[in-house]
């Protein structure tokens, strides 16, 4: 059996799961008496090919092209399809990474072959490879086999095998073979841009010393700015009860209560929050609770240290005005 391992790198740095899948591939090669080749694909990745050659495989295939420098699903699947047609493996193994999830189904489908994704293990029984994958959120494991002729595709889940178990080459180094592929820019439909990390405004309400929280009393999304201003003047964070986040007026990470965050700031200013138990369990540990509500019977007053029975739209501007003068 000819086995082909497709490794993954980015900016000439390994994705470590490549070695986990290498360990799996080595075992399968041993069990089946097969020959294992490993692909390094990209541009300017010869050093990685050399690195991989130190592992126990029959050969390393280096696939380089200007158009493979940045990952694109079209580029990778076109290039790999050519390599597969040239080398004719029976089994193609990949680590189950985000990138593989993106291009591998396309690659397999372009060759009219099936793929078993996200495997956690395999067995070699009666001359047949059986792959194991989890179903029902890990409550059960299914045995899956291939039908027909190869090449078959399978991906292994991260952590299913141990990368440090990948064996080194027994006698020095495996040969590195360059394989040429033909690609043209017009076949690649996606245009990769600069890599960026989503600038996530992580709010950690649990660390905020002062929290200004709004509830249904705020009435409309446009009124939230008033509370936000007040929070800023107080040097605190803005938070809300569930209905506000449920409406999408504030993101869910700012929700306080049983289905949100539990906080215990020095000061908790509750504006127009009635104090349903679902909210109260998330903030009752606050050092000082100040509540403003129109309804004097609102349960929030039972736990408030200071209560103002009144309209938040009168109280908020008044407080803001005083704070601005300070």
């Amino acid at each position: 059996m000819k086995i082909l391992l497709i490794t993954e790198q980015r900016d000439a740095k390994w994705n470590k799961t490549s070695f986990e899948t290498l360990a799996a591939a080595q075992q399968i090669a041993k069990d089946t008496g097969g020959a294992l080749s490993g692909i390094v694909i990209g541009n300017g990745v010869a050093a990685l090919a050399d690195d991989l050659a130190g592992k126990d495989l029959a050969e390393v295939l280096l696939v380089e092209h200007d158009l493979l420098g940045a990952y694109t699903p079209d580029g990778f699947s076109l290039a790999l399809a050519q390599v597969i047609q040239q080398t004719k493996p029976d089994l193609v193994l990949l680590p189950h990474t985000y990138q593989v999830r993106d291009f591998a189904p396309k690659l397999a489908a372009s060759l009219g072959k099936g793929m078993i994704g996200d495997c956690t293990g395999y067995r070699y029984e009666n001359g047949r490879l059986v792959f194991v994958r989890q179903m029902f959120q890990g409550k059960t494991a299914a045995d899956v086999t291939f039908q027909g002729v190869g090449p078959w595709f399978a991906t292994f889940q991260a952590g299913a095998f141990r990368g440090d178990h990948a064996a080194a080459h027994p006698s020095g180094k495996a040969p590195v073979k360059r394989i040429g592929v033909e690609l043209s820019a017009d076949k690649i439909r996606t245009k990769p841009l600069e890599m960026f990390r989503e600038a996530k405004q992580a709010v950690d309400l649990t660390q905020a010393p002062i929290i200004v929280a709004v509830g249904r009393g705020i009435k409309a999304p446009e009124n939230i700015a008033q509370a936000e201003k007040l929070a800023k003047l107080l040097g605190g964070e803005l938070a809300a009860s569930r209905p506000i986040c449920d409406e999408g007026w504030l993101p869910m990470e700012r929700q306080i209560g049983s289905s949100g965050q539990t906080v215990a700031p020095k000061l908790y200013l509750a504006l127009g929050i009635s104090g349903a138990i679902q909210h109260v369990v998330g903030m009752k540990g606050s050092r000082t609770i100040v509540a403003v509500n129109k309804d004097q019977n609102a349960p929030i007053f039972e736990i408030a240290d200071y209560g103002i029975v009144g309209d938040i739209f009168e109280i908020m501007p008044a407080l803001t005005e005083v704070l601005e003068k300070l």
């Binding site: 959120q137 059960t140 569930r242 449920d246 138990i277 679902q278």
Partner: protein, 557 residues
Amino acid sequence: MTAEREQLEADVLIVGAGPAGLACALHLSNLIHKHNESGAKPELSTENIYVLEKARELGAHQLSGAVMDPRGLRELVPDFEKAPPFDTPVGDDAAYFLTEKKSLKFPITPPPLENHGNYVVSVSKLTKWLGGLVEKTGVNLFTQFAGAQLIFNPEGEGIAGVITDDKGLDKNGKPKDNYTPGYELRAKVTVLAEGPRGSLTKQLGARCKIQGLNPQVYSLGIKELWEVPAGRIAPGWVAHTLGWPLPSSTYGGGWIYGLRDNRVSLGMAIGLEYQDPLFDPHEAFQRYKTHPFVGRILEGGKLVRYGAKTIPMGGWYSMPRPYVDGGLIIGDSAGFLNSQRLKGIHMGIKSGMLAAETIFDALRSDDISAHALAAFSEKVEQSWIKKELWPVRNFHQGFHNGLWAGLANTAVQMISGGRGFSDPARTRAGYEDYRKLNRERELVDQSTRFKGDGVLTFDRLTDVYHSGTRHEEDQPCHLVVLEPSICADRCVREYGNPCQYFCPAAVYEMVREKDAPKLKINASNCVHCKTCDIADPYQIIDWVPPEGGGGPNYEGM
């Protein structure tokens, strides 16, 4: 989203791990083990039986009073009393009629309410224990997976399997990072054991003619579990009440059961067939607790848990045809419940066992057609289920004109072998009983709604908190309103939006938005009781299962 679904094939797929579904799985496993041991062919495997349960854990969505007649369980697990999951045997039982201040004990306990030899149980504990037995037999039991959609046979009528719930969809139905499409589970026989008003059973009813002579009618059961000071109530003490605070025109009553460890189960079952669309069943139950008869038991105690669930009350004539090609309906989904005795667990279990016997024969003869599965109905006819339900077949219908007419009909029924005043007595769906209000297009003021004192009585949100209900917040709304314009235009005038009142979990709210009424759905409060699907006057609310694992936590209920 048309992601390809993974397919799995099973012999038998049971939707719902309640007493009926688990009894079916356990009994079928036992039959298969015996069959295989005898060396008979074809060999069958318990691993080809799948059970789906939408709850986070086994038993978490199980709610009942409950006094259980052990008859069904004794047949299923003959030595069950050796390892009792139960609470306590019934000691003393009595029935009372309540007026606003007084309680009158019935001179004798009416025979249907005699509970000698029965058990006060937590159906949640019972289910957990039963599920453990099922798992030991090799059956695949998947919690946190709901049956979301039926797979129909392309030709003819019948079921080919179920699609489980999609996981990881956001509010707008777009896939999130953890998106996993539901599985396509195909089975030779699919058993619907979803409890009252099953959402798949409803899908089946919309496609195949399975409705019985009468439509199913339901009561809403609202329950609280309390812990009270020692000595307040004897374990096994069972009381049923009629009367206050319900008017005699409203079908229903209350219960108080003494459990071990100073716990009390109390609640009310109220017919979802009342006339006043602004009637609030939750408030009625809260007021019930202020009666001296109830209050003196609870005083100084504390609320432990809350829950609500509907109960199929229609009886024999409301039961649907329980078989189609490749499918059976059992338990509460098919109305296996004796509403005169207020008992269904024993019958749910028995229906599951009879279904198991039917399926066992069908698998052996490789015939899963409706014709073969009709054997289930014959088995029901010949079993004690029919013997128990036939004499009370007109019981519930008798109460359509109020409590007194109902009791008179019950008396006539007892001496006429079940005929009562008319046989078969017809009934209509409960929502048809609402009286129209014909108001202005103005929202009904909600500020005067019952709030409770926070000690003995509670508002709905506080009770929902005690139900342990939790859902993934960022998921599509599982309460699908088919025509939202009806709520804001017609219902507001005709009925004053009864969804705000019948829902015991404060899911539905009418709010003003830009000076027009609008329905707001707080889906994450939902305790899965199905009242909205049943009691909505326009029948435009479709309860579908939320992402598996969401819902109440009825541990100990």
